[in-house]
């Protein structure tokens, strides 16, 4: 449908007639994918910071077990009561407040849950996906705008339920983000019930989102935007959406069953003959704790790729843009991504090697686990080689992306020793695992997300974030991330377990008088806890420039001089800034692949996807009125 100028204007009046949206309609109950994307982004960032704050408190307990929490100690006590009990000096007067073991476990479980389900997924998938995908495929909006809004609202409800659970009697869920039964189900407090119900809302939100994304990408691609012309970011989101769509429901089923165990006293995950606090539990029994683990990890593993694929997508866009050349091996990128998506459904039991797994099963899952590492290698390799022959601009987004590569490399490579069950035998449940995946999700995914924020910010707001403070943010974050997670490998190798309330003090190494050899964890490795914690707090401090930069630039940042400040090729830059409701003034037509940079014989070093083959480039439409 080619608009003539006339009905184009008509279209506008029409638009206005329909939504004269007030503040609420515009910012809160909006159905515009861009607004929803931004809502998701801000909410998720806040949750991300909250999840980080929980961990900063835990890091105190890990570094200084049993010492009074500084600054916020009494605040915690006032909010959470005896979960943060007071400690007294000799004279019996309260000298401060500490974190009880239950509180530590609750914070640990909620840190994991919040970071994964309320932080990264909403930011990487929902926020960036919502804002960027329709623009990049040349669509006016998502396929189902109202479903889109519902998805966000369901996400908020889920988040609120999770937050409320901190304040109910007994506190929040404390059985780890993995919520293994029976631990999660036994016990009389309701934190776990809240967790389950919260998860049901979050799952619903993700399912609605996934359906919407897939339908949008399949149905709403602009004319000429065929599959092999999609920007890699869209591919990444496409596969991610399928992972969510098909991997989440089994967890939802598991959640329903655990809810029944909790409120209707069924025994889905509770075996016969449980003995709780000295007496036979009054349950029918006959259930299986392993079933929960299978259903959880059936989601759990695809979920980890949900955390990484969008990040890879962002990195790909930014690398192409800042090397000013096409991505090397676009096709193999796409196929590797599809392969990862496919395989990630059949590796899950590598999280369960030590549940007493027979040879057949462990062989199967080890093999698939090793196979799935190959596509990741291919993807990363493509990114590396893309650097070759480029003309690399080191702006803030690019710095974060470049850092992503080795950081993901470390995280990914350390997945391998975990992938062999015979070495996992020793590394399982140690800080080596913690370091493994944090290298991927923190200096990996989070960096990619920072990059994405710096990169698309001008499109969303019409202003740049400060380059200088961006670089400060990058270098310091990079430093402290590594100071936090590198030592964890060392601790893990020394046998320090995760989820330890006292940071391992109980297992501190002692020289056995009889033999003289030291058993337990040598003190040096425990001392690393202090260093890690200080680095973690420092990491928080260096986020302040970012937070200020983020809000300050909305009003005062450097104005963009064109709609395409990075001189990029993809469609989101061929719209007015910020894009109006309906995105494109005239429906774009796509003539070429996503990364046509430095095409030989072209004047400028980038050729937008919608620039007609011959003749003058389509005039880039200026701002809507």
């Amino acid at each position: 449908m080619q608009h003539t100028n006339h009905d184009l204007h008509h279209g506008h009046d029409h638009d206005h007639a329909h939504h004269e949206p007030g503040f609420w309609g515009k910012y809160v109950f909006s159905t515009d994918h861009k607004v929803i994307g931004i809502q998701y982004a801000i909410t998720a960032l806040v949750f991300l910071f909250f999840g980080f704050s929980l961990m900063m408190l835990m890091r105190w307990q890990l570094a200084y077990p049993g010492k009074a929490i500084p600054l916020v100690g009494s605040l915690l006590h006032n909010m959470l009561g005896d979960a943060a009990p007071g400690i007294t000096d000799a004279s019996g007067k309260i000298t401060g407040y500490i974190m009880s073991a239950d509180l530590y476990n609750a914070f640990g479980a909620m840190h994991g849950t919040i970071m994964v389900f309320l932080g990264i997924v909403p930011l990487a998938f929902a926020a960036f996906g919502n804002f960027v995908v329709p623009l990049q495929i040349g669509a006016p909006d998502m396929a189902f705008p109202r479903v889109n809004m519902a998805s966000y609202q369901s996400f908020v409800v889920g988040g609120v339920i999770m937050l409320v659970s901190f304040f109910i009697p007994g506190g929040a869920a404390s059985a780890g983000w993995t919520s293994y039964s029976p631990l999660a189900t036994l016990g009389s407090t309701h934190g776990q019930t809240f967790w389950i119900i919260g998860m049901v809302f979050l799952i619903t939100s993700s399912l609605l989102g996934a359906v919407n994304f897939i339908a949008t990408i399949i149905q709403m691609r602009a004319p000429g935007m065929n599959w092999m012309r999609l920007p890699f970011f869209v591919w990444a989101q496409f596969v991610t959406a399928f992972l969510l769509l098909l991997a989440f429901p089994p967890l939802e089923a598991a959640a329903v069953m655990q809810l029944m165990d909790k409120v209707a006293h069924t025994s889905f995950f509770l075996p016969t003959g449980l003995v709780v606090s000295g007496q036979l539990a009054n349950i029918s029994g006959g259930g299986s704790p392993l079933l929960w683990q299978h259903l959880f990890w059936f989601l759990g593993h695809p979920e980890v790729y949900v955390l990484i694929l969008p990040a890879m997508g962002i990195v790909c866009e930014i690398i192409a843009n800042n090397t000013r050349k096409p991505i090397w091996g676009y096709k193999s990128l796409v196929y590797s991504t599809l392969a990862i998506g496919f395989l990630s459904f059949i590796v899950w039991a590598h999280h369960m090697y030590l549940t007493g797994m027979g040879t057949k099963i462990s062989t199967f899952f080890q093999t698939t686990t090793m196979i799935i590492s190959i596509p990741s290698v291919i993807i990363l390799t493509c990114f590396f080689i893309s650097l070759w022959g480029g003309s690399i601009r080191f702006n803030t987004p690019m710095l974060f992306c470049l850092a992503f590569l080795p950081m993901f490399g470390i995280g990914g490579l350390t997945g391998l020793p975990l992938g062999f069950n015979y070495s996992d035998l020793f590394l399982h449940d140690t800080y080596y695992v913690i370091a493994h995946f944090h290298y991927i999700v923190a200096p990996g995914t989070i960096f990619a997300l920072f990059a994405g924020i710096y990169y698309w910010y001008p499109k969303a707001t019409g202003r740049h974030m400060s380059e200088f403070w961006g670089k400060v943010h990058f270098w310091l974050s990079f430093l402290f991330m590594n100071l936090i997670f590198q030592p964890m490998f060392v601790q893990g190798m020394a046998g320090l377990n995760r989820r330890l309330y006292d940071g391992g003090a109980t297992y501190a190494g002692v020289a056995d008088p009889a033999t003289g050899l030291v058993v337990g964890i040598p003190q040096v490795f425990l001392d690393l806890n202090k260093m890690i914690s200080h680095a973690a707090w420092a990491l928080a401090l260096v986020q302040i420039p970012f937070i200020i930069n983020f809000f300050w630039s909305m009003k005062n940042g450097k104005k963009v001089t064109s709609d395409n400040p990075w001189e990029a090729t993809t469609l989101e830059w061929q719209t007015p800034t910020p894009p109006p409701h309906g995105n494109f003034l005239t429906e774009p037509h796509v003539y070429r692949g996503p990364y046509e940079y430095s095409v030989p014989g072209h004047g400028k070093d980038f050729t937008p996807q919608n620039e007609p083959e011959h003749g003058a480039p389509q005039p880039i439409p200026q701002k809507a009125h």
Partner: protein, 286 residues
């Protein structure tokens, strides 16, 4: 720009948006019920001998409900056809039947549920079982004045601060030495259990509970699966009801789009029917 393909199919996929959407959603539903069915198989295979009830549910009611759902499915299809043939009146009629079927289904299901809650099993101190429907329970107050109840109120209960304690319960059912006699009646043909009233003094009761989800893993999965399915029935009925009532306005403004909505809601409804097609034999017959 307006959102394309809300009514007309996109040429290269041949589908309109909502159709793609609903099928994706149904795909996730398959995984949801798939996981529960896997759990069912697992619990059943894992159940120790004699503990998995057979022929516990009322097959007649189950059959009727199956037929009710199938009927609702055909009426949904016919409703859509009527719109295609531009017969709005018929559409109204068919969907009305659909909604009545939905109500009938839920009604029958709740009857079945209720029955399970009045079905009790007693484990006596001597390790034998009494199993049957609650016929009545006798309670005693402090002065030993006895009081008859049709319902079971637990081993003791309080009413306007008088304390009543159980004297005996009367179940209409069977006595059994092993669970298997209760759960696998088809297996042992020799001693035929005919139902009779059996009264059990409170003193002999080791454990008493009714056939709620907590009773055993079979009841757990039964209530979970059928409950979740019932929720889907309710959801589907709400949508169909909306498109039948207020939503029907759209027929006048955008008939094609309305027809699509009916098709999409129908697809969901058929899926709900489809799930039941498996639930019925799995829970009632096997």
């Amino acid at each position: 720009m307006e959102i394309p393909y809300t009514v007309k199919p996109r040429p290269d996929t041949g589908l309109y948006n909502a159709k793609v959407g609903i099928w994706l959603f149904l795909a996730s539903e398959v995984m949801l019920f798939g996981a529960l069915f896997s759990a069912y198989i697992l619990l059943r295979v894992g159940a120790s001998a004699g503990t998995w009830p057979h022929g516990l549910l009322n097959v007649t009611l189950g059959t009727i409900n199956t037929i009710v759902l199938i009927t609702s499915s055909i009426t949904v299809v016919m409703a859509w056809v009527s719109l295609k043939l531009n017969q709005f009146g018929k559409f109204k009629m068919y969907q009305a039947i659909t909604l009545l079927c939905a109500l009938a289904f839920l009604g029958i299901k709740s009857v079945e549920y209720k029955d399970k809650f009045s079905h009790y099993q007693i484990i006596k101190k001597d390790g034998t079982y009494v199993d049957g429907h609650m016929h009545g329970a006798t309670y005693l107050d402090k002065e030993g004045k006895s009081r008859e109840e049709h319902k079971f109120h637990g081993l003791s209960f309080k009413e306007n601060n008088v304390e009543y304690s159980l004297k005996e319960v009367v179940l209409n059912g069977i006595e059994a030495a092993q669970l298997s006699e209760i759960n696998e009646p088809h297996k042992d043909k020799e001693h035929k259990h005919e139902h009779k009233n059996i009264s059990v003094p409170a003193a002999e009761i080791q454990k008493i509970n009714n056939y709620g989800p907590w009773h055993n893993t079979y009841m757990a999965i039964y209530f979970t699966l059928t409950g979740l399915h019932a929720l889907h029935v309710i959801g589907g009925a709400l949508v169909i009801g909306f498109l039948w009532g207020p939503g029907a306005k759209m027929w006048r403004t955008e008939p094609e789009r309305f027809t699509n909505r009916i098709e999409v809601s129908g697809l969901f409804w058929h899926f709900v029917d489809l799930v039941w097609i498996f639930l019925f034999p799995v829970l009632y017959l096997l």
